[in-house]
Structures are given as C-alpha cells and as structure tokens.
C-alpha cells in the first residue's frame, strides 16, 4: 500500500474514532455539579457540613456488586496462586472460590472471566496451555459448586502478563496464578 494512502486512511480512521469517542456518556459532566470558571476564587477550605457525594461511576450503592470492590469483603480478593508445575487449587484458596461461587449463584447476571497465567520459562504457546489448565481448574471447581456454565469463561494469558517481571522463583511464584474478573472489569 502506498505510504500516502496509508497515512490518509490512518487520519480518517483516527478522526472518525476520536469523534465517536467524544460522545461517550462517561465524559458528560454529572448533573448538579457546578462548573467553576478558570481563575475563580477557590471555595473556603472550611466546610460547615459534609458535601453529599454523588457517585455515578459504578453500580448503584446497595447493589450486591459493591461487595466486589469492598476491601473488607473476601470477594475483593481475586487471585489464586499455584505451585510449580501444579494446577489444582490449594486448600487455602477454597473459601475464596466458594465465596465467589455463592456470589455467582445469587447473581445470575454476574459473569466471570478467569485468566490463567504461567511463569516465563519455556515456550509461549505451551505456557498458554499451562495457564489454561490453571483457569480450567478454578472453572471446574465453580461448576461443581453450582455456578452455571454460561456465567464463567476460563482463558489463558500464558506468560504474557506477569505480575512480577524479575527472574527467579520468588517472582515466578507470583506469575503462576489465576485472576478472576467480573463483567465490567475486562
């Protein structure tokens, strides 16, 4: 393809996409929030009463999905680590998987993506297979705990998305893991 044609296509594509992206609802100012003029005097630091918070970033407050982000809830924990060349979920992670199974059973609209990972050693494609074995193993456990097949997908990122990028067992142990993501998080 001619460089000129390519550049033109790129420009048209980029412009079109940018135009489309600016109409994203997320970027609209939330109603009821005052738009301050640049250079205007900032409001006093002393507040007589707390400002009521309006949060439109996620699910409505009180939704069961709020627990997924609550650091006090076990559901906010999303990683399961595996021993070298091992694929079964260790006993210490059973309560975590059980809690997520309960959540998925009680919230049929919730969907989970399980991403399996492997450490960096060896073939990238074989490592995709090893990561898949890890995500399949959590998926199987969730199924046995009564979660519907259409709520869970097990995939592998192989060695491509390490949590830790040094070389050595301490680091590799962090990379042999499953991450559980809910819809809206991926």
């Amino acid at each position: 393809m001619g460089a000129k044609l390519k550049a033109t296509l790129t420009a048209i594509l980029a412009a079109g996409v940018l135009a489309a992206c600016t109409t994203t609802p997320e970027e609209q100012a939330p109603a009821g929030v005052e738009g301050r003029k640049p250079g205007a005097t900032p409001p006093s630091a002393v507040q007589s009463k707390p400002i009521p918070k309006v949060d439109v970033t996620g699910k409505p407050a009180g939704s069961p999905f709020a627990q997924l982000k609550d650091p006090n809830s076990i559901l906010s924990k999303r990683s399961i680590y595996f021993d070298f060349d091992k694929f079964e979920v260790k006993d210490e992670y059973r309560p975590l998987v059980e809690a997520h199974a309960k959540f998925l059973r009680e919230n049929p609209s919730a969907k989970m993506l399980i991403q399996g990972n492997a450490d960096e050693r060896g073939s990238r494609e074989y490592n995709v297979g090893l990561g898949q074995r890890r995500s399949d193993s959590v998926k199987k456990m969730l199924s046995l705990l009564g979660v519907k097949e259409n709520q869970i997908e097990a995939v592998s990122l192989g060695e491509e998305k390490p949590q830790c990028t040094d070389h050595g067992e301490n680091c590799w142990a962090k990379n042999r893991r499953d991450d559980m993501l809910y819809n809206g998080e991926y």
């Binding site: 594509l13 994203t24 060896g122 074989y126 995709v128 297979g129 592998s156 991926y186």
Partner: protein
C-alpha cells in the same frame, strides 16, 4: 456498557497508529570455515542512487556465511558488465567470483541497473539481468541481484528478497513488524497495548495469522499485509492460539480450549469449518504442517512431559517423535521435510535442537540459554530464533550446521521476539 466502548475506541486508534520505519541492527559472530572469496566492484554510476547497490549485494552474500567480499583498490575506470574481463588480474586479487554492474538513469525518471556475474576460476560468464527501478526500489533490486549470484554459485535459492515478521515490545507497547531478511525497512503491521504472539506467514506471503490479546484473551486473527484488513479466524469461548497454515493456504491448525483443555483443531482462515483433531486430557498445542501437508507435528504433554508428536494432518493416532530429555517444544519442519527443529531444555537451558528425521540424530546448534520460536529460512540454510542477551530480547540466526551465527536487535531499544521467516516471493 461504557468501559467496553472506551476500550474499543482505544483499540481502533491503536491499530491505526504509526507506520514509522524502524530498523534492526545486525551483528555477525562466527563464520563457516570455507567462504568463497568474491569481488563485487562498485556499480558504475550507482552514486545516483542511495543506498549503494554493490554494498547491499556484498552484505547480503556475507550474511549467508558462505561468501567473503574482497576489499578492492580504487578502480579507474570502473569496469562494467559490458567490459572485457581480465580473468588473470581478478585471479591475482584472489577472487573466485566477480560481479560487475552499472546504473543508468532513464528519460522517464526511473533507473536501469545491469549486472553480470563471472566465475573467475573457470573463466566463465555466468550472465546477469537488467532491472528497471524507481528510487525506492534500490534495496529490493540489490536483494534480487544477491539472490541471482547466490543461486548461480551455490545451486540453491537465495533468501535475500524474503521478509521476516517479529514482535517488538517497548514498555507496554507491542508492535508486529515486517522487515527485509536483513532487518532493514521494518514496517509496523499492528500496534497494541496488549501482547501479540505466534505470527505465521500464509504460504503466499500475503497474510499473517497471529494471536492477539487485545480482547483480554487469546484470539486468532488473519491479517492481510496488502490492505491492513484483518479478520477473526478463531474467537471461541476460552483460549484460541498457536495458528499454523496448511501448505495450500486453505486451512489453519490451531489450539483451542473451547471444549476444555488445549486441543488441536483445524479451521478455515475465515472461521468456517471447525474440526477437532486431538482428543486427550493433555495440552496439545503448537501444530505445524509438514511441507507435503501429510503430517501435523505438535507439542503434547500426554506422556507426562512436553514432547513432540505427529499425526496425519486429517487427524489420527499420534506418534511420539522426540525422546531425549524432559522438555521438547515448538516443532518446525525444514522446507525439504528432512529435519525437525525445536526447543529442547538441557540442564535448565532452552536451546535450539535439530533432529534428522531419517537417522534420528539430535544436535544442539545454539549456545545461548533462553531460545524460543525457531523458524527455518525458506531455503533451509538458516534458522531464525528469539533469545535473550544481557536481559534483552533479540533475534538470532544460526546456520543449520550451527557454525555461523548472527544477531538482530532493535536499534531503537526494546525486546524483539516471536520471529517468523516468510516464504519465497515470486
């Protein structure tokens, strides 16, 4: 769903991003014992074009490991393809072969390059070719000339006009690039903030299949290099990975987890006609067709450790192919079908192994220790691979006899990996 919409916008922007030219730099280490001395005179009038055609021809031939370009004194006047060759004089300069040529500009603004090859020892005129070219075809023309010289003198096809694909990772940015076999003229076919692995050339060299993680999971795409259009070949529930083209270009073999585990399937490049080929509780992945299309070689850990197996390409009982060691992966068959190259782990080192499929002898041909993704040149002479040197991902090429090595690294920094040597281009 706002988050999904935003990430979609983002991706399209990425795909449209930079087509800036990059470059791989080459370093040659080691050499074959017997290199044919060849004199390549500057082409008369070549200063009108940049870069120098004779210099590219010489560099190409030297990179093959089979030739040594002779240093020449200033020649005045420069002899051309039309000159009478004084064989005794070139013999006294120790040349076994000689290339003479010239460049002339044409009335239409294009150029004409002519050259002629001589066997100095046999005092024989091995003829040449005339090419008409524009200013941006200088490299391509020089590679064609090097291919002609290589084929006349060695009896096998040269690979200087072929291209390579590979992935460069810089920070959190991944680029799938295509370059000439000498690393020059690199162009970016795809840029993404998510990993790209396993590029595989279609047999006609027009399309690449690869795995992209841009949807937060591995999906197999087929990407046309002519118009940049890409198509999803496999995006089933679960992971979709390890694409390989059948020699007729009509079928892809892939590894899919849609039915649990990682199993080998075939599918048409447009995503139609899915067929499952393996049924094991093991990881079956990295399928590769033999050049005659009859066999599929693949990696499987059905015997307890990852080893290479093969089965009929339409499916059937797999036979184990590798037996030495506890980790043998990434099978690639040589273009003549006689050799199997793969990655073997020996005492913690991952190295390129070469198995002679007739006499079953195995040879380790690299001395690096984190080798991945071997890829045969289309004439079978060299193997391109990814390795790590000084903590940095680089490409390395090694002659199939292990004697001659060269290294390609990204001149602008970053890790280079996942090489795939493209086919001959007619």
């Amino acid at each position: 769903m706002p988050t999904r919409w935003v990430s979609l916008c983002f991706l399209v922007l990425l795909a449209a991003a930079s087509s800036a030219r990059a470059q791989l730099s080459i370093e040659i280490t080691g050499a074959t014992a017997q290199r044919t001395p060849i004199a390549i005179a500057p082409f008369a009038g070549e200063a009108a074009l940049a870069p120098s055609i004779s210099a590219i021809v010489r560099a190409d031939l030297e990179r093959s490991g089979l030739f040594r370009g002779l240093e020449l004194p200033p020649l005045n006047p420069i002899p051309t393809e039309a000159s009478n060759v004084n064989y005794a004089e070139w013999r006294s300069r120790l040349a076994d072969a000689l290339v003479l040529g010239s460049v002339a500009s044409r009335a239409d603004g294009r150029y004409e390059v002519r050259f002629r090859l001589f066997d100095v020892v046999k005092q024989e005129d091995l003829r040449g070719v005339a090419y008409t070219l524009t200013k941006d075809q200088v490299r391509a023309t020089a590679h064609r000339i090097a291919d002609y010289v290589y084929e006349k003198l060695t009896g096998e096809r040269g690979v200087f006009s072929t291209r390579i694909a590979y992935v460069v990772k810089r920070g959190n940015r991944y680029e799938l690039q295509i370059a000439d076999a000498d690393g020059a003229g690199a162009e970016t076919a795809l840029a993404s903030f998510e990993p790209i692995i396993s590029p595989a050339w279609s047999p006609d060299g027009r399309r690449l299949a690869y795995v992209s993680f841009e949807n937060k999971k591995p999906v197999v795409y087929v990407h046309s290099l002519l118009d940049g259009k890409r198509q999803v070949a496999a995006n089933f529930k679960g992971s979709n990975s390890a694409p390989a083209w059948s020699p007729d270009g009509r079928t892809l073999a892939v590894s899919l987890s849609r039915e649990g585990g990682s199993q080998i399937f075939t599918i048409n490049p447009d995503g139609s006609r899915l067929r499952r080929l393996t049924s094991s509780s093991a990881i079956d992945t990295e399928p590769r067709y033999s050049p005659d299309g009859k066999w599929l070689y693949f990696t499987s850990d059905r015997g307890g450790s990852p080893q290479i197996y093969r089965m009929p390409s339409g499916g059937g009982e797999p036979q184990r192919v590798t037996f030495e060691g506890s980790y043998n992966v990434s099978p690639r068959i040589s273009p003549d079908g006689r050799m199997l190259s793969y990655i073997a782990r020996n005492e913690g080192k991952f190295q390129v192994a070469l198995l002679d499929l007739q006499n079953r002898q195995v040879q380790i041909i690299t001395d690096s220790d984190r080798d991945e993704s071997p890829s045969f040149a289309p004439n079978g002479r060299m193997i391109l691979l990814a390795t790590v040197l000084g903590g940095r991902g680089v490409l390395s090429a090694v002659s199939a006899d292990g004697r001659f090595k060269q290294r390609l690294s990204a001149a602008t920094g970053g890790d280079v990996r996942e090489p795939a040597w493209g086919p001959f281009i007619e």
